[in-house]
């Protein structure tokens, strides 16, 4: 009976949190569409999210392309379909693996970073200090960060995809003597707008989710330094879960428009 009660309490807490997150998102849209705008802080956050994630995204993308090609090669060779490698890799990376993997990497770096930063600002009363000085901390801290992740993630994903394809091209060049020019010709022949557009659109939602959950967890942080750790940790967990849900919905919708 006690166990049942615990489970029902957890379910209740989960739904309460979903409700609070929805209100938080609603407040974001309200505050984002009203003056004054914090352009300077937005640019600073874009730099933090974008520029400081470049190396991580580049390394991840490169290894992703490299490993994916190495692992797929034997199977394709078995069926005599190794010439399809550039098409298969490019479609897989651009449509699905690139956006999801890079978004997950950014969830780990950016969302947890935002959760920890805002969480520590909350417990050390820095957010209260902003509020009592007549500034709107939600606009300054939350709106700018969510907008920065929403704008920067698509760019990071495009960059990561390009690096992943480059990694794949290196494997093909070394193992199959395929020139870079031939490899990328096949890549661009295989890719269509129906591959690129849905992936780009969903990457904006990925960015929004990363910023939203990170700021939500950090801004509402409680229980001192323990709470900061929890905020940072749960920001990653919730964001990762949300990314898969968004991905599922995006694939479902794009299948309606572009599916066969």
């Amino acid at each position: 009976m006690t166990r049942l009660l615990q489970i029902s309490n957890k379910i209740k807490t989960f739904f309460v949190e979903i409700g609070e997150l929805s209100f938080f998102a609603g407040r974001f849209f309200r505050e984002a569409s009203s003056r004054p705008f914090e352009f300077k802080e937005l640019l600073r956050q874009c730099y933090n999210v974008g520029n400081r994630s470049l190396l991580l995204v580049a390394v991840t993308g490169f290894i992703l392309g490299l490993v994916f090609t190495l692992q797929s090669r034997p199977t394709l060779m078995e069926f005599g379909a190794v010439s399809w490698m550039p098409s298969m890799v490019s479609i897989s990376i651009v449509r699905e693996i690139g956006p999801v993997m890079i978004a997950l990497i950014c969830a780990g770096r950016v969302s947890s970073g935002i959760g920890a930063e805002l969480g520590s600002m909350r417990v050390t009363e820095q957010i209260d200090a902003m509020e009592v000085s007549g500034t709107n901390p939600f606009k300054y801290l939350v709106v700018t960060r969510i907008m920065a992740t929403t704008l920067m993630l698509p760019l990071l994903i495009i960059f990561g995809d390009a690096i992943a394809l480059y990694g794949s091209a290196i494997v093909e060049n070394l193992k199959g003597n395929v020139s870079f020019q031939l490899y990328f010709n096949q890549v661009f022949d295989a890719l269509e707008f129906s591959d690129i557009i849905p992936a780009t659109i969903k990457s904006f939602f990925f960015g929004f989710a990363i910023g939203l959950v990170g700021t939500f967890k950090g801004y509402n942080c409680e229980n001192g330094t323990v709470g900061v750790g929890e905020a940072s940790n749960s920001a990653v967990v919730y964001t990762s879960m949300l990314l898969f849900i968004i991905d599922f919905i995006a694939v479902f919708i794009s299948d309606i428009f572009y599916g066969t």
Binding site: E117, M121, E125, Q126, D128, S133, G134, T135
Partner: protein, 246 residues
Amino acid sequence: MENTKEIEPILKIEELRKSFGENHVLNGFNMELHEGENLVIMGKSGSGKSVMIKCLVGLMMHDSGIIEIMGKDITKLTQKELNNLRTKIGFLFQGSALYDSMTVRENLEFPLRKQNKTFKETKTLVSDALESVGLSDAIDLMPAELSGGMKRRVALARALILQPKIIIYDEPTTGLDPITAKEIIHLMEDIQQKYGTSSLIITHDIDCARVISDRMILLIDGVNYAQGTFKEISSSTDKKIQEFFK
């Protein structure tokens, strides 16, 4: 302090109540702060002092009661009006609450961002505020590079930057060594004399209360248990009051 009763208070709290579930923190707290006055509020940890000042500046919603600042009931203000009123109140937080990612200069410039000040005016206000706390040299340092006492001074400079009419001090000497604590107390006195601000000081520090208070209130069980001058309260024979001065 007899004459202050005739003047309209700059800050007034009537029958303030605040509960967290079954925990009744404030049970009808009353208070008046007059212009140019230093009012000290003392109470044990958990007696509701911090809750009271958070309600005062709108960081927390009270359950019932009236809070009037400069004649305005804060519950009837719009967010914009409340923000405007907040610019007339300086707040020194217990842990200083300096913005970690900003330099001392940026910390001080932050409250001025929406005040339509020119670059020159901002620069003058920042240097004046830092000078009044004796930290002009620290302008380009990060908060992590400052000692506890320096942080408290910078936080005080930030609280002063908008030239407020009221300054609220939340445990201004907590966590500081006795010498630095004395320096902060003298600084508070200097500021009060220089700017003519009214001060509301929340503290446990008997020395701080003795030196700085014109009047003090003892907050016990969510109500003002005793009020008067430091001398009147410290000489009381009441057991609960005496516990504070042991």
